[in-house]
Symmetry: C2
Subunit: 197 residues, 2 copies
Amino acid sequence: MGRSQADKVETHEKIVRTAARRLREEGLLGVGVADLMKEAGLTVGGFYKHFESRDELVAEALASIESAWEPAVADAKAKAIPDAKIFVRLVDGYLSEEHRDAPGAGCVFAALSGDLARGGEKVRRVGTRKLLRGLELLADLFRGPRAGARATAIVTYSALVGALSLARIATDDKDDALSREILTTVARAIKSWAAAR
Amino acid sequence: MGRSQADKVETHEKIVRTAARRLREEGLLGVGVADLMKEAGLTVGGFYKHFESRDELVAEALASIESAWEPAVADAKAKAIPDAKIFVRLVDGYLSEEHRDAPGAGCVFAALSGDLARGGEKVRRVGTRKLLRGLELLADLFRGPRAGARATAIVTYSALVGALSLARIATDDKDDALSREILTTVARAIKSWAAAR
DNA sequence: ATTATCTATAGATCTATAGATAATGC
DNA sequence: ATTATCTATAGATCTATAGATAATGC
């Protein structure tokens, strides 16, 4: 009790980081303020010195989520890896069993598309901004005219989000053959389609 | 008060129908028992004579949702409409603004993928069964060997679900240009890809 | 007599606030 | 003196149950 202002910034970031993970794991309605504070190592009383409301934390947590593509593409470009190869890596990473099994650290659209669509204007605006950035990142990896690259990015992103969403549903506790089939089938199709266009 | 057993069956179905719509609109956690009963024209007290728990209603409501594809494909086949044309109609209907704006009457995956993935085994099993049936319906519309048709169905379904999910997020209250771009771009790509394969 | 639905409410949980406590920072 | 966090709790909301009411159905 009684901490410095510097500590408060750290505390604030820790709450946001915890929320960014837990909200993707449990859905935007699936986790309460007290639970989030406890997981951040705090108690519920301090919450409203950091945020005006639960909704404000949700918006801030969503806005804080940076796409894993951002640093991955930057690193690969810096190493002069060809765009086509970078694209293959993104697709394989996105449609991996690791990503499927770690929604809290993964794509915000695959984890929360329904919640985002149902959300208020603030939440949908954050989602739209992230979507536009993701499309830009993808389109930059495709050859040819800008319009065609953007269309390819839209189709690719849709297939990625849909495949991961369905693969997460098809996870039977015993057998996830269907789930793996979805991941591998869509990964192969996207890669060959993008290469051949 | 005091109704016949025949009425009770009707009441039960009305609750399930109301839940099937409202849960797709608000998410599996977004609507309470009292609200659902009120919308079905009832009060909360009678609920537990129909269902053991809220979870049981959720499972029953999800199981009751029949894909719009089921009767559409059956009708079209009865009229000897070519498979390729049936497929085009399914895609255009799925990626329409009407479907986007009516989640309560639409695809359960686009509306609830996150909730289904996070759901208990019962919920995920219902989802997986519906997914398998949808893939079967789609695959039956494609020419050639069974394995290839199934793969095409998986890729198609993923792109459909992903595109509709993203189109629902991108609905700015003022301008939905991006949303419409996603719908039309993915519809065109799916149709030409499936025709050319 | 049985039962389908109603009103009323118990008990749990969730958001938000009040007031206490123990540090920081002028 | 200020403030970052804590404990405690008010008030709202949600699931589930108890008991009353008014029909059905033997």
